[in-house]
């Protein structure tokens, strides 16, 4: 990307870039703005929306099976079934919002677990090198070369389905990337003068890691974690679709797609809407993580800011 930086990109590099400038540059980029609005809406739906929505996600009404979007209530009063109903007469919009809650919960707690586990191992490998490094990275290489979904399915088969097992299994299958990133960054910091200085000044190993290395890793790992929330949500929906993830009656987007399969010809909204919800969530998180990666990387940031300011002048 560096090659595409225009000569005046260097100016953006000089001096400290203010936070407001970075924020403004995010808002000026169309896809990023779209992603941020979408993420805000999804988080709102999962937290507040699911609570205040007039229909319940679990209330069945067999007289109201598979009704298309905008169907009015059974007695014609009150709030219509905005996005239709499922084969048990449950409100799709309510289930989608509860599904968002499940997805975000699995995504965020799974990423927290796998991120902490993976980056701890990565930092240890990079700091101590030698045998520790060999053992940890061998394990990373080994697991990374094995298909993750097969591993997750096999683990869930042994442990049995369930919400907590699901989160643990997802964390266990996706920790390697953090270990790789944390290790390679720690290795380069280990060579740098400020870490040498910290050691010479008498810091213990654990203190050097906590006070001098981990703070420098935070931003990159956060960007990675944002990407991984998307990947985690996709993985959860896949497992739930196959019947090994979230179990009914808990609403999950993957499960909703699976249940809509039998009604493809007659009730398009059953499969289409939850799939779109997954796509929107994952795409927004990916777009946002891309922009986040661009503004936190000093080299890419200059390109990004020049682009943004150019667009600001156009408008």
């Amino acid at each position: 990307m560096a090659a595409e930086a225009t000569p005046d990109a260097g100016e953006a590099l000089e001096g400290r870039v203010s936070r407001s400038m970075l924020l403004r540059s995010l808002l000026l980029d169309g896809p990023t703005l779209f992603a941020m609005i979408a993420i805000a809406l999804i988080v709102f739906a999962a937290t507040v929306g699911a609570e205040i929505w007039p229909h319940d996600a679990y209330d069945q009404d067999l007289h109201m099976r598979n009704r298309p979007p905008m169907t009015p209530n059974a007695d014609g009063s009150g709030f219509p079934h905005f996005l239709g109903t499922d084969p048990l007469g449950r409100d799709i919009a309510a289930r989608l919002m509860h599904g968002a809650r499940v997805s975000l919960l699995v995504g965020i707690s799974g990423v927290t677990l796998s991120g902490l586990f993976g980056s701890t191992l990565g930092v240890l490998a990079g700091y101590f090198r030698g045998r520790t490094d060999d053992v940890i990275m061998r394990l990373v290489d080994l697991q990374a070369s094995f298909p993750g979904l097969l591993l997750a399915l096999a683990l869930l088969f042994v442990l049995g389905p369930g919400f907590f097992n699901l989160i643990i299994v997802l964390a266990l299958t996706r920790w390697m990337i953090y270990a790789r990133v944390a290790r390679s960054m720690t290795l380069s910091f280990r060579e740098s003068d400020f870490v040498d200085a910290a050691i010479v000044a008498g810091n213990t190993g654990s203190r050097t890691i906590r006070k001098h290395i981990v703070p420098n890793l935070k931003t990159s790992l956060l960007v990675l974690a944002t990407l991984e929330v998307a990947a985690m949500i996709l993985a959860e929906s896949g497992l739930s679709f196959l019947g090994f993830g979230v179990q009914p009656p808990t609403p999950s987007w993957g499960l909703m797609v699976a249940h809509g399969r039998d009604y493809l010809g007659s009730a398009w909204w059953l499969t289409t809407l939850p799939g779109l919800a997954i796509l929107l969530t994952a795409l927004s998180l990916n777009l946002f993580a891309n922009a986040l990666g661009a503004i936190t990387d000093p080299v890419r940031r200059s390109v990004w800011l020049v682009r943004a300011s150019a667009r600001g002048e156009e408008s």
Binding site: F157, V158, P274, A282, L285, R307
Partner: protein, 315 residues
């Protein structure tokens, strides 16, 4: 050279042994194989009877010796479900999965390289940005939903498209397109980044000065030099295509390894699951060896003769 490959081979056998031991330990120690086979509802008498007939009441060491002996004789025992040796059941499914994944990859790789080249020829143009969002979309979409959407929207309109079963072009087209989306997105993004890296190097400038057309520069020169990271990600994609195959084969009723995985798991057919993990492990090791071999072919600078290769070199 020869010594390197011999060592790699020995290493591969070691990895295979490690994976199988992990499989043994997870199924026998973390999980109770009898419970896995019978489910939690089975009566106490039935559990004890099955434990005896399967030889699971013996010591772990005896069971392990039996298990490894079986692997050496390539015999994983009879499938509980079909009462025939489980390895042939698994091997029977390999061609179907290879067929499906190769068609998917043959669609994804050329298209991904073309998309990446278009972006590289006109950096930051509308086309470049649209391709970026499209490839992020390919990564963000869930394959099971995409497959169902194709069935719903295309197969109902176009008569000759088949949505289920095994066969020629009309059968393979929809599942292969579905399976191709994820590698398409990931390979095109990876190729775009590594092409951009190449384009910033001095030799490109001299080619430009020489008067070579941008197309020739990108396709003949930059592409060749960017091929190493691209090959790496294609290798990774070969493995994650297996993840996709589990889902896509289930959606399209394609009789491959993926469909067998879900069938074996839901029938709790332990010998088949073990044979499946064995076959996949062998396949994964084979793909990794192939990717490494193609490195030496594409870049004579890479030699595998000495110890300096691999992770240690970047420390």
């Amino acid at each position: 050279m020869g010594r390197y490959w011999i060592r790699r081979l020995i290493q591969s056998v070691g990895i295979g042994w490690l994976v199988l031991t992990l499989v043994f330990l997870t199924t026998r120690v973390i999980g109770d194989p009898v419970r896995l086979v019978l489910g939690i509802e089975a009566s106490h008498e039935r559990v004890e009877l099955t434990r005896e007939t399967l030889g699971l009441n013996r010591s772990l060491v005896a069971q392990y010796a039996d298990f490894i002996g079986g692997v050496v004789r390539v015999d994983f025992g009879e499938s509980f479900w079909q009462k025939v040796p489980s390895l042939p059941i698994v091997l029977d499914r390999v061609p179907a999965t290879l067929y499906l994944t190769s068609v998917a990859l043959l669609m994804a790789v050329p298209l991904a390289l073309i998309l990446a080249s278009i972006g590289t020829l006109r950096p930051r143009s509308f086309a470049d940005r649209a391709i970026n969002v499209f490839s992020l979309g390919g990564v963000s979409v869930v394959d099971f939903w995409l497959g169902l959407m194709f069935i719903m929207l295309l197969a109902t309109q176009i008569d000759w498209l088949k949505t289920s079963g095994y066969g020629g072009f009309s059968y393979v087209l929809l599942p292969a397109i579905t399976l191709a989306f994820k590698p398409l997105g990931r390979i095109s993004q990876m190729a775009r980044t590594s092409l951009a890296d190449e384009m910033s190097k001095p030799y490109i400038r001299s080619l430009r000065a020489k008067g070579l057309s941008p197309k020739r520069i990108v396709f003949l020169h930059a592409m060749k030099n960017a091929s190493l990271p691209i090959i790496t990600i294609i290798g990774d994609e070969l493995i994650s295509l297996l993840n996709g195959a589990i889902v896509v084969e289930t959606v399209f009723g394609w009789p491959g390894l993926g469909q067998l995985t879900i069938q074996a798991l839901s029938r709790r057919d332990l010998p088949v699951i073990e044979a499946l993990v064995f076959v996949v492990t062998v396949g994964v090791i084979g793909v990794n060896l192939l990717v490494d071999a193609s490195y030496t072919y594409l870049n004579p600078k890479v030699t595998f003769g000495d110890e300096s290769r691999g992770r240690r070199s970047n420390s």
